[in-house]
Symmetry: C2
Subunit: 333 residues, 2 copies
C-alpha cells in the first residue's frame, strides 16, 4: 500500500512553498512497536510550524530535516495500532505527517484519543485544540487578565486570536482586536461582538488604538511594527503575552521594538509562552473550553480547503492573512 | 540668608552638564506650612535623574522645568521645621535640591527621619537607601531569583549593581557581573568575590558570557547592545529585570533589542521596575538590608567628591563609567 505525503525538499523563501515542498508517493513501512497508523481526515494549518521549515537552529523547535514529510497536527481514525490504548476506529489527534496516512509513535506524537460525540470534529483543532489551549493560557495565565481590564489581541481574526478575544470577554474583560482588512473588521465587530476593532491596513491605526484609553493586556501573535504602536498605548503595569511573531516568519526581518524602553517607563511585563509550557494542563483547559463551546459562547469559523494536493494553498493563507478563523485541509477519505 | 543651588538653565546634551546647569545664589524664602529645611551634608548622584533633565514627556517621571533647582536625594540635618514629626537636629533623607540647603515639603519629598546610630551615614544612600531597595526588589521580586540559579548583573560596579550581585549571593545564587574596564573587573572579582565577571570593553564579551552556561536572571541597568548579547544566553524561562537603560540616557539612541524574539524562543519574562513600585515595602526592605550590612555581608565603596561646586563632575561619572560604587557629593557644612 502506498501513501502520498508532502516532502520538504528545500527551505522555502517567504510564502513560496511550492518550490520547497513536493507531493510524493511512497510505500508504507510495517508498523514498529509503539506506533499507530492514522487515516487523516483533517490537517491543521498552523503558523508556528513555519519556523520548523527554516534552517534556524535557535528557534523554539529545531528545524525539520530536509527529505522528510512535513509535520503538523492531524485528525483521523486509527487504522492499525501497535500501541497500548489505541485501537482501530479510535478518533485521534496527533503530530503527524501532511499525508493520506500518518504513521507515528503514539507517545512522541502526543497522540490522544478524542470523544467522538463532539458534533463537529474540527473543533478538536480549534476551540478544543491547541488554539484553544493557547488562547486561554495566554489571556489568563501569561497575560494575567483580570475582570474589567482591557485586553487587545493581534491577528484577532486568526484561529488563536479569535478565541483569545472571546475568552477575554468570557473572563469579564473588555476585548479589542487588531485585524487586517475590512471583512475581518466586520466579522470581529458584528459576529464576535468585541468592543473595538482596529484595522492595521486602514488609515492611521495608531489613532484607532488611541481611543481605547490604554490596554492592560496585549496578546500578541504578530510582533513587528505593530508591537511598537501598542507599547506606547499600554497602561502602567500592563502585560504583553507573546504568543507568536508571525511578522517575522516570512519577512526575513526580526522584531526589534524601538519602543522597548516603555518596559521601564510603564513597568510592563513581556513574556513569551508556548504550548509545551502548558501541555500538562491540557485536560483541565479542554474541560473549560468545551463547556463554553457547547454553550455556544466560544465559536470558530473554519476556512476549509479540500484535498491533500491543495495543502500548500491553505498553508499560505496563514502568512498572507487571507483567512478568517481556523485553516484546515479536509482530506478525501 | 542666601543659599547656593544648581539651576537647570537648559536641557543638557550628552554629558555636557556644565553648559546646562549653573551654580547660583538666592535668598531663602520663609518656610511654608508642612515644609522642612535641611542643611545638606551629602547629595546622592543617581543615573535615573538624567531623564528628568530631558524634555521627554513619556518617561517614568515628567521633566523638571527649566529655571528651577536640580533635584535629587539629599542627606542632612533638619535646621528648621514646620512639619509634624520633624525637629531641628533630626538626620533626614529626602528628595531635595542640589544646594547647601534644601527646602522641601516633608510629605511630597518623601522625607524620612533616619537612625543616627548607623556608623557611616552615607549608607543611607547606598545599602540602606534607594540603591539597596532597588537591588533587593529587582533580584528577589522582579527577577524571582531562586537559590542555585545564575544571576547576571550589568553595570555591576555601579551603586545598584554592586549591591545586586552581593544580594544574589546572599540569596544563594551564583552571581555574575558585567563591568567596563580592568579596575572594575578586579574589584568585582577579588573584593566582592563573584563567580564570573565580564568586561564588555574587553575582547569578545560574548565569548566571556558563553562560559557561564546560561543565565536564569538578568538584572539590567544598561539596555543597549549588551542586552542583545545576553538575550541569546538566557536559559529557558529566564527573567530579565529592567532596572535602567543608562545606555540610552545620554547617547540619544534608544534600546531596540534585535534579539527580542528570544522572548518567545526561550519563553523569557522581561519586566520593568522602579522605586515607587515598592516604596510601601521600604521599612521591611531596609530591615533586611541593615542586618546584612551590619554583619559585613553587604558592602559599598563610595566615590566621594567634595564641594557643591564640583557636583557636575561627580554626576558625569555615572555616564562615563568612571566610578566604582556609590557616587556622592560631600558638602562643606
Amino acid at each position: 500500500m502506498t501513501n502520498r505525503f508532502w516532502r520538504i525538499d528545500r527551505r522555502p523563501e517567504g510564502t513560496d512553498f511550492a518550490s520547497a515542498l513536493t507531493l510524493v508517493e511512497a510505500p508504507l513501512a510495517p508498523l514498529a512497536e509503539g506506533e499507530i497508523r492514522i487515516r487523516n481526515s483533517h490537517l491543521s494549518m498552523d503558523a508556528g510550524t513555519r519556523m520548523w521549515l527554516t534552517a534556524r537552529e535557535d528557534g523554539y523547535q529545531p528545524p525539520l530535516p530536509l527529505g522528510i514529510a512535513m509535520t503538523g497536527l492531524v485528525l483521523g481514525e486509527v487504522v492499525e495500532s501497535r500501541a497500548a490504548g489505541f485501537a482501530p476506529g479510535d478518533l485521534v489527534r496527533a503530530f503527524g505527517q501532511w499525508a493520506d496516512v500518518s504513521t507515528v509513535d503514539a507517545v512522541m506524537s502526543g497522540a490522544i484519543v478524542l470523544d467522538p460525540s463532539v458534533a463537529d470534529r474540527r473543533a478538536w483543532f480549534g476551540p478544543l485544540g491547541m488554539n484553544g489551549w493557547t488562547a486561554l493560557w495566554g489571556v489568563e495565565q501569561t497575560g494575567a487578565a483580570k475582570p474589567g481590564e482591557r485586553v487587545l489581541v493581534s491577528a484577532a481574526a486568526g484561529a488563536t486570536g479569535i478565541l483569545a478575544v472571546q475568552i477575554a470577554k468570557l473572563l469579564g474583560c473588555e476585548a479589542w482586536g487588531i485585524v487586517g482588512g475590512d471583512s475581518k473588521w466586520r466579522y470581529l465587530k458584528h459576529e464576535i461582538g468585541v468592543t473595538g476593532v482596529v484595522d492595521y491596513k486602514g488609515s492611521n491605526p495608531g489613532a484607532q488604538l488611541d481611543v481605547a484609553g490604554g490596554f492592560d493586556v496585549y496578546f500578541d501573535n504578530v510582533g513587528g511594527p505593530l508591537l511598537d504602536q501598542v507599547l506606547t498605548r499600554m497602561n502602567h503595569y500592563g502585560r504583553i503575552a507573546v504568543c507568536g511573531l508571525v511578522a517575522d516568519y516570512t519577512s526575513g526581518t526580526r522584531t526589534a521594538p524601538r519602543e522597548f524602553d516603555q518596559v521601564l517607563m510603564r513597568r510592563l511585563r513581556i513574556e513569551g509562552f508556548f504550548s509545551p509550557d502548558f501541555m500538562h494542563e491540557g485536560p483541565a483547559l479542554t474541560a473549560r473550553l468545551r463547556a463554553w463551546h457547547e454553550a455556544g459562547e466560544l465559536v470558530m469559523p473554519y476556512d476549509v480547503t479540500r484535498g491533500l494536493k491543495n495543502a500548500l494553498t491553505a498553508y499560505a493563507k496563514l502568512f498572507t492573512g487571507a483567512n478568517i478563523g481556523k485553516v484546515i485541509v479536509e482530506l478525501d477519505t
